[in-house]
């Protein structure tokens, strides 16, 4: 039998030694509960399993030339990333409960926390959460705890995928969830001002936002802080090679989706939710945290720390129910950032922005194609306003081998002709030229 070591003879010998039969080992299960036998096909040999799954993989369309983003980006993954992350001492371990034999993952998580802080200009980060949406929700819950207030303001330029998750999670909790309407591609300051008062726990915004537009939130931070609330900023880590950091804008909690840091798109997961905050809020932060300390001989070592926030100690009074998180994805992000390094991240961000800039220029040469938010700056994603329904164009381009972008009408009913286009370093100039050509003839 696959993956079972003991031979039938050994099993017999063990049963004899403990004086039981196999059936006796299950006699505590009442007879009427014993399953009559599973209707599951017989097992397959490894070769058969792999052939079958290779066949299923072939039924997915992955050879499209992609301009699809929406918060999830097709970045290049250097070979050293999977090579290091797939060392089985890392991936077959569990939560580092025994620090003496878990220094590898503990130090890596400490380094990951440090890298996230350096990237976002914050002071402390946790060891990860499930994904960017969960991280945003957990940030909101944290703000409620920090301020003891009931209202959360989320702008509609924040990922609609995350906003639907937040609605689900806050549904039973008696939280006032206010969604503000943006104007011209950015959060409308007048709208925000209307909803920020001494009942407000936090305002959540995103940069670059779901439309790809860049913003500067220092004014929002001032307004929020004047009322004793917190500013939560969700961000796209690769953009931070070029874009002003949430920390520099005065954010109190920074979250985001870490998929772009060396993690494959993989049909939606596993991904990586990161979270960073100010040191003063650390005891209200959810998720595991690793700290640096010493052993009896003064040697440096790393441990899980500040665990009194967590569910295995605090149970129903814990800051969150999350225990197992995305340790291996956090390691992936750290390895990726270490390989790129200080200059590499800047260069990568520059390449993405330049290619997006080129794509924007080429696409605007097409008759009747405009930018939806022409006054805004963008990093690597922008909204095109087409002369016809975006869905129609996407369908036509799919037939020609392109994933043209995301139809914003899925989440914004008034935006039927708006196409969200993302460009990463993986797209070549030739592909962009071809895309512009095919789009032009498809209109």
């Amino acid at each position: 039998m696959p993956y079972i070591a003991n031979t039938p003879e050994q099993q017999e010998a063990m049963l004899r030694q403990i004086g039981r039969s196999m059936e006796e080992l299950f006699r505590d299960i009442p007879p009427d509960l014993r399953a009559p036998g599973l209707s599951i096909p017989p097992g397959l040999a490894e070769q058969e399993v792999r052939n079958r799954l290779a066949g299923m993989a072939a039924r997915n369309k992955v050879d499209l030339i992609g301009f699809l983003g929406g918060g999830f980006y097709d970045h290049f993954i250097p070979a050293a990333v999977p090579a290091l992350v797939s060392r089985s001492e890392f991936y077959t371990a569990y939560t580092p409960y025994q620090p003496e034999i878990s220094q590898g993952i503990l130090q890596a998580i400490y380094e990951y926390q440090s890298a996230i802080c350096r990237l976002t200009d914050m002071e402390v980060a946790n060891a990860s959460l499930y994904d960017g949406g969960t991280a945003l929700y957990e940030a909101i819950m944290m703000a409620l705890r920090v301020t003891g207030r009931p209202r959360i303001v989320v702008d509609d330029t924040v990922s609609p995928i995350y906003r639907t998750m937040i609605r689900t999670y806050t549904g039973n909790l008696g939280i006032e969830l206010v969604e503000t309407r943006s104007r011209g591609g950015l959060p409308d300051r007048d709208e925000l001002r209307k909803h920020i008062n001494d009942r407000t726990a936090a305002v959540a915004v995103q940069n670059p936002n779901f439309f790809g537009c860049l913003d500067e939130f220092s004014d929002v931070a001032d307004l929020v802080h004047k009322h004793g609330a917190l500013l939560v900023v969700s961000c796209y880590p690769i953009s931070l090679g070029l874009v002003k950091t949430p920390g520099a804008m005065g954010a109190d909690i920074v979250v985001g989706e870490g998929q772009s840091l060396g993690i494959p798109l993989g049909f939606g997961g596993p991904y990586l939710g990161f979270m960073a905050t100010r040191l003063g809020h650390v005891r209200k932060m959810p998720g595991r945290i690793v700290g640096r300390t010493v052993d009896g001989q003064g040697r440096q070592g790393f441990v899980l720390t500040l665990q009194t926030r967590e569910q295995h100690i605090r149970r129903e009074k814990a800051t969150s129910n999350i225990c197992t998180n995305e340790g291996l994805c956090a390691l992936t992000a750290l390895v990726y950032l270490s390989l790129l390094g200080k200059q590499g991240l800047v260069e990568l961000a520059k390449t993405c922005a330049e290619k997006a800039s080129y794509a924007g220029k080429r696409l605007l040469e097409i008759r009747d194609v405009r930018m939806r938010f022409p006054k805004r700056y963008y990093f690597n994603e922008f909204v095109l306003e087409l002369p016809v329904a975006a869905d129609r164009v996407i369908r036509r381009l799919l037939d020609k081998g392109f994933a043209a972008g995301f139809p914003l009408v899925r989440y914004y009913p008034g935006m039927a002709r708006s196409l969200l286009v993302a460009v990463t370093e993986k797209r070549t100039k030739e592909e962009i030229d071809l895309f512009a050509h095919v789009l032009e003839v498809s209109l």
């Binding site: 050994q10 990237l119 998750m165 441990v303 100690i313 390989l339």
Partner: protein, 482 residues
């Protein structure tokens, strides 16, 4: 060992990103731009490779040796599954493709995988349908608790409380609380089962449900499960099954048949997906017929022509709990494992997991206290109180095991057992490995009697000794900042 930032050499570079000539410069106004680059390390690719290789050598995984961490089911993770998860047809698939017009037809292979896992889990658990979206076991618990809340809301029930036994995992009460419920603890009886009298006393019209692990965290199958289900259903409460301990029941007994209405499964435990040093996991949730309409958006459906689609039209659903379809890469690994095992394989898993645990329990029974000593399922829980009287605590035994090449069992859990040592060998371990572990445990018990200081000074073979956790909490150093 230095942290990676301390190894940085100004001007050194690792992987070079692609450049493209002939593109206009980025259009980012100065007030929107970053002032100084992030202080990431400046290292060559080889520097980075050596750093993480060295870190990996300071880590212990299932591939390194025996890892009987109770309640975590640290079984072998087949290599085949890693390779399959890397197939470009899965790894490069953008999760928003299905939301494009006719987009479902672009991802038929992935939807087929999801559908087939759903079918297999239904059969194994005896439930009507599964959502594969929950991203970890605790996420499954929260999803399940929200489904329970949706059911009661629909029925107009005014429910405030979830019952949880004192032996439960800490995530159970935390998840129930985050779903908006008060938590009431039900004590265990002297045999380690749920105290039925206490349960009767706790039941009222306010009770929304009971969260239970069976076999429980003592490794005991609760024989009164029918009665418990009937009692809870009697107040229109729902039965929630924490599937952390499903391994010994595969093919033998189904949560649905025990009367459970909601079930979560930890695929990273029972279905052999790697634990990743603390995730990613996957925690699918299955429900009985009357709760299917509350499952999260979306669900995979099958059309009469055999093609698959994503059903977003679910008006009674609790809503969206994850960005997409779950931790697909983990689901894929679990599916590969299921295909390899098949019907027979699943049965053998349950048998050998149970046999291995009982073998260890019987062999160690003379040397350590066994508070609940009948028959166990996948794990057994000893108490080191006899050794503690000599100054050797469960933690010391754990450290002594490290020096002998083993990962220790879970210690100090469940909370109902003093000096608890929770041993879960899993079915993938051989008799030789178990015998070596048993021998080490016996040796340690002997030393605890004769030379306890040889145990309390462990570990001596590791890269660091016991670390000062009090200092870590009192003077937090949580990041290397520049």
């Amino acid at each position: 060992m230095k942290v990676i930032f301390e190894k940085s050499v100004p001007g050194r570079g690792g992987v070079r990103p692609v450049r493209q000539e002939g593109c206009p410069p980025p259009q980012i106004a100065p007030h929107l731009a970053r002032e100084r680059p992030a202080e990431l390390p400046e290292l060559s690719e080889l520097d980075v490779v050596r750093h993480f290789t060295e870190l990996s050598r300071r880590n212990f995984g299932v591939d390194s040796g025996f890892y009987p961490l109770g309640s975590c089911t640290m079984k072998y993770n087949p290599k085949m599954a890693e390779q399959i998860a890397g197939y470009a047809g899965f790894a490069s698939l953008h999760p928003l493709l299905p939301q494009l017009p006719r987009g479902e037809m672009l991802v038929q292979g992935a939807l087929a995988v999801l559908h087939e896992i759903d079918l297999a889990l239904r059969e194994i658990c005896g439930m009507a349908a599964f959502t594969l979206q929950p991203l970890a076991g605790a996420h499954g618990e929260l999803t399940g608790a929200m489904i329970i809340a949706a059911y009661h809301k629909d029925r107009g029930n005014r429910k405030t409380t979830i019952l949880i036994p004192d032996s439960a995992h800490g995530t159970n009460p935390a998840s129930a609380a985050i779903a908006g419920y008060q938590v009431q603890v039900v004590p265990s009886d002297p045999s380690g089962y749920m105290d039925l009298e206490a349960l009767r006393a706790a039941l009222s019209e306010r009770v929304a449900g009971l969260m239970l692990t069976n076999p429980n965290t003592l490794g005991l199958f609760d024989p009164h499960i029918h009665e418990i289900s009937d009692l809870v259903h009697g107040v229109d409460g729902l039965m929630y099954y924490d599937g952390a301990n499903l391994n010994p029941l595969l093919g033998r007994c189904r949560p649905g048949d025990m009367g459970f209405d909601v079930v979560h499964i930890n695929l990273h435990k029972t279905f052999a997906t790697p634990h990743g040093g603390g995730g990613p996991g996957a925690g699918p949730v299955g429900v009985g017929e009357r709760l299917v309409k509350y499952l999260p958006i979306s669900l995979v459906g099958e059309r009469p022509d055999g093609s698959y689609f994503l059903d977003y039209d679910r008006p009674s659903s609790i809503g969206y709990i994850a960005p997409f379809y779950g931790n697909f890469g983990i689901l894929l690994r679990a599916y590969a494992y299921l295909l390899a095992l098949g019907r027979e394989g699943l049965l053998r898993v349950a048998e050998n997991a149970t046999l291995n645990a009982n073998y260890v329990m019987e062999k160690l029974r003379p040397y350590y206290d066994l508070p609940y000593g009948g028959l166990c399922k996948h794990e057994c829980v000893f108490s080191a109180r006899r050794q503690a009287a000599r100054g050797v605590r469960a933690l010391d035994i754990a450290k002594a095991l490290i020096d002998r090449g083993f990962h220790p069992p879970t210690v100090y859990f469940p909370l109902t057992v003093p000096e608890a040592m929770m041993i879960e060998p899993t079915e993938t371990e051989s008799k030789e490995t178990l015998d070596a572990f048993i021998e080490a445990m016996i040796e340690i018990a002997g030393l605890a009697e004769t030379r306890p200081e040889e145990i309390t000074r462990c570990p001596t073979t590791t890269v660091v000794g016991r670390l000062d956790e009090a200092r870590a909490a009192r003077r937090p150093d949580l990041a290397s900042l520049k």
